[in-house]
Symmetry: C2
Subunit: 164 residues, 2 copies
DNA sequence: CTGAATGCAAAGCGTTTGCATATTT
DNA sequence: AAATATGCAAACGCTTTGCATTCAG
């Protein structure tokens, strides 16, 4: 089975802290490790629901557990929801998010990572995690919008007149 | 008066889009431009409330306006609320956030900014804004917590046993 | 005078929590 | 048997929205 190492990390983390290895925990682990990109709590919930009874509360509680033991990263890439992704050790990456279509593109920049560490150290911070999100307009949306692009924002303006 | 330039940008942006310059809008503008660091919507609301009647809805609607015209930056630095800050042109900066005391420290890194632009371009993105948040433990909290630091997380674990 | 902005209260939305019940060890 | 985890539903916290009223131009 894949993810054997991570799975053992998870189980030992749970037991070491007096927790129990439940089927719900393992199922959530499998689900999030079978996903390639980012996924939100609700989609995890519905995916698991297809073959097993689980509640949203359990999904949230155990996502927290996975985040705490360092196997999962939780970030706000969109406006509202958190997005989760399993961590690939040694593959720190960041995100480009299209404000039109919400597509998320990953990129890696060792140079930026190094600068971040340096900055944290210079300020006496012990860095634990980071989020670097660049939002803008992706190629696809740029070409589709090029004519219509008059307004300054990607969403409805607060000014009434521009609603017309 | 300070912020004359920004104020004219604001007023002309509003009028250009068929909007109206209301006392509430000007008051919010003044409040956010009188603040030095980051502030959330509720604190702006209460600050303005001290000398003028205003509703939360108006605060939120007009914050959106200020964000749209590029004078204000809105970011999720904490867990729940958005934090707002007025933009200092040409002074792009990012944030270190302490996960214990929530203190926010700003830093500037032209090198990181340049790399970000390069990366966006390489991926065909037209970058509009970015968020770089490094969360960790600040010097002060590190020294206070050095003995107690056993758990992996800054907050209560999802494991029941660790609550004791 | 016209239509945009405000205030109020309610709705929305994702996330968290209290408590009774089920399950792991 | 003891204590943790789950499910349910309600609570939460912040933000957004519908609608009647007020106000800027």
């Amino acid at each position: 089975m894949a993810n054997q190492v991570e799975r053992e990390i998870f189980e030992s983390y749970v037991r070491r802290n007096g927790g129990r290895v439940t089927p719900e925990r393992l199922r959530l682990f499998d689900e999030i490790f079978s996903q390639h990109g980012h996924i939100d709590a609700d989609r995890l919930y519905r995916a698991i629901r297809q073959d097993r009874k689980i509640s949203r509360a359990t999904v949230y509680r155990n996502l927290e557990l996975l985040v705490d033991c360092g196997l999962v990263r939780r970030q706000r890439l969109g406006q509202r929801r958190y997005l989760y992704e399993h961590v690939h050790p040694g593959q720190a990456h960041d995100h480009l998010v299209c404000r039109v279509c919400d597509r998320v593109v990953e990129f890696m920049s060792p140079a930026i990572s190094a600068l971040q560490r340096e900055i944290a150290r210079a300020h006496g911070f012990d860095p634990a995690e980071h989020t670097l999100k660049i939002s803008g307009i992706c190629v696809g949306c740029a070409s589709e919008t090029e004519v219509a692009a008059t307004g300054p924002s990607h969403r409805r303006s607060a000014l009434r007149s521009t609603l017309s």
